[in-house]
């Protein structure tokens, strides 16, 4: 088991190395450098030259990359060109916000998705199934930013119950404020994911219900809710965990649109901001953190697999 984890972790390195170089190369292909934003539009030639020299942007790209890599390997991801703050600190400030939103959204998704998934799987093709399947199709198809706009219109503009824009309030500091701030983005994001979860759960439960052991159990007269609750759920859980894991992994950087609608200070928006100001070290840092997060969660999901289903063994 430990050997497996170590091997998986080792496999991450070449991918990260490759990705970091690719990002560096890509950044340099992008028109417009970071200097413009640093010095401002009214800067003199002297200021521009001084800034280029100060940030070492006049060196060849490969030299800059190797310099960055050398430091990154020792855990130093450099300073943001724009704010002159350590990149890791900047990311560290956004990561809790991202994690909190991801968690809240997953909770919303599970609360909505699981009952819908089960209810529609119990009697496939019944009217209930159709209504619920329609609901999950709707949750999936409606663009998150439009849902966000509708929620803002209703709860912020009309009813004035919730703020139209969110900020990050750590849950343990002020649970009420945190919930108020999180409610709309978490519902928006969670609604979408609940569609995926419900659809997926329905499919795997129906698959299970056709399997032999369920037929046997039914033949033996085991009550239906016991069959669903105990036997089918356990087996359906496996692919379900994967999906939830994948979603979590995607939230690390992929909730950009929801973050934009509610102006939520997540990692995705930090990256977009960094791209817009061409803040090279910050772009590198953000993307690598997103990649590492994605891979770690994937690894975690695989391990969870083995724990849920002892038949699977990792070597």
């Amino acid at each position: 088991m430990t050997a497996y984890i170590l091997r998986r972790l080792a496999q991450m390195l070449p991918v990260l190395l490759l990705a970091s170089f690719a990002i560096f190369a890509m950044i340099y292909a992008v028109p417009g450098g970071p200097v413009a934003v640093i010095v401002g539009e009214n800067a003199s030639q002297e200021e521009i030259a001084a800034a280029i020299q100060r940030y070492g942007l006049d060196r060849p790209m490969v030299v800059q990359y190797l310099d960055w890599l050398g430091r990154a390997l020792t855990g130093d991801f450099g300073l943001s060109l724009h704010s002159r703050q350590p990149v890791l600190q900047l990311i560290g400030e956004r990561l809790p916000a991202t994690a909190q939103l991801a968690l809240a959204a997953i909770i919303v998704a599970l609360v909505l998705g699981i009952p819908v998934g089960i209810a529609s799987a119990v009697k496939p093709n019944s009217w209930l199934d159709r209504v619920l399947s329609g609901w999950s199709a709707l949750a999936l198809g409606v663009p998150t930013f439009w849902v966000g706009i509708l929620l803002i219109l209703l709860f912020a503009v009309e009813l004035r119950w919730l703020p139209s824009a969110s900020r990050h309030v750590p849950f343990w500091e002020s649970p009420f404020e945190a919930l108020r701030s999180l409610a709309l983005p978490a519902i928006t994001l969670g609604l979408y994911v609940s569609g995926i979860l419900a659809r997926f759960l329905r499919a795997s439960l129906i698959g299970e219900s056709r399997s032999d052991y369920v037929r046997t159990a039914r033949a033996k007269g085991v009550p239906e809710n016991r069959i669903v609750g105990l036997h089918m759920m356990r087996n359906a859980l496996l692919p379900f965990v994967t999906i939830v894991g994948l979603m979590m992994a995607n939230f690390i950087g992929g909730a950009v649109v929801t973050e934009a609608v509610f102006t939520y200070p997540g990692l995705g928006r930090l990256l977009i901001q960094a791209i817009s100001t061409r803040d090279y070290p910050l772009i590198q840092g953000c993307i690598l953190v997103i990649l590492v997060g994605y891979m770690l969660i994937n690894l975690l999901v695989d391990l969870l697999y083995a724990w849920i289903d002892p038949r699977i063994e990792y070597r």
Binding site: P143, W146, I252, V256
Partner: protein
């Protein structure tokens, strides 16, 4: 041709489903709007600042935007932007994704590992971020949006194509073609691909809905098709900042966008269900026919 007959049968069965029929009808409407927008008495660019941010009325059914332009006209012309971007993107995704998947699945050796690792990296980065990065490189234009959305769609085509090849390559008729001296290229593209077409077509439809969503999301984030070209996502973006002054501005284009995405999705799902049901039969059938 069995393929054509199968397609005809699929369409007939599709039309038996009410949701699919409604979806097809709506898409036909949107498609016509996109194709024949020029024939309608609507001008998406004509400004009339004095009449800006008006609510829906008999003159402007959807109201007017911040520059006094007719929102309905912009929604109709926006269909063109959306559909062109979506179809172009699906085309690009298929053009690159399918061969990658075919080669990876057919050989299954180091080529498979290398190609699939690349696909993994594409998958690891959320596609919206990847698309934004690509647009940053290419500069903001409709072409850039199209390519960015297309590249984001490559992995799904590659994976499906790969899975299909792996399922089909051991079947008798493929082995037979190989026996007749068919080269790898011939086998992949002339023998296997035609038989793997239906899941790929379904994927194309599903992807079209994702592409429309992604294009709108990019425009919403302010990096999509540049104004004044009408785009649904851009309208939601601008409309969002006028929520207090003109709430319908962001709501009405959003309805059209949502219905379009839902329609593509509904048809895609209906087709998946139909194909799934008789996929095994179909494979057996075509394989038998060939033999």
């Amino acid at each position: 041709m069995t393929g054509l007959a199968a397609a005809g049968r699929l369409l007939r069965r599709l039309l038996a489903r009410r949701g699919a029929v409604l979806s097809l009808a709506f898409l036909a409407l949107v498609g016509c709007a996109a194709l024949f927008a020029g024939l309608l008495p609507l001008d998406p660019l004509r400004q009339s600042i004095a009449d800006s941010l008006k609510p829906p009325s008999t003159e402007a059914w959807f109201g007017t935007d911040e520059l006094g332009r007719d929102i309905l006209a912009r929604v109709v012309y926006g269909a063109r932007t959306s559909l062109v971007t979506a179809f172009g993107a699906v085309f690009i995704a298929a053009l690159i994704g399918v061969p990658v998947g075919l080669v990876a699945g057919f050989y299954g050796d180091w080529r498979d590992s290398v190609l699939m690792r690349c696909i993994d990296v594409l998958l690891a980065l959320p596609n919206i971020l990847f698309a934004m990065a690509l647009i940053a490189v290419l500069g903001r234009s409709q072409g850039a949006a199209l390519v960015a959305v297309g590249v984001a769609g490559i992995p799904s085509f590659a994976r499906i194509a790969r899975a299909q090849v792996m399922a089909l390559r051991q079947l008798d008729f493929v082995t037979a073609v190989r026996g007749f001296g068919g080269g790898p290229g011939y086998i992949m593209f002339r023998t296997i691909l035609p038989n793997a077409l239906s899941p790929l077509v379904v994927q194309a439809i599903v992807l079209a809905s994702i592409a429309i969503l992604l294009e709108a999301a990019l425009s919403f984030l302010g990096v999509g098709v540049p104004p004044p070209t009408p785009s649904w996502g851009e309208m939601l973006r601008t409309g969002k900042s006028y929520l207090y002054e003109a709430p319908t501005y962001a709501v009405l284009p959003g309805i059209v966008l949502t219905l379009t995405i839902l329609s593509f999705d509904t048809i895609g799902r209906a087709m998946t269900a139909l194909i799934d049901r008789d996929e095994t039969d179909a494979v057996r059938e075509t394989a038998g026919g060939r033999r």
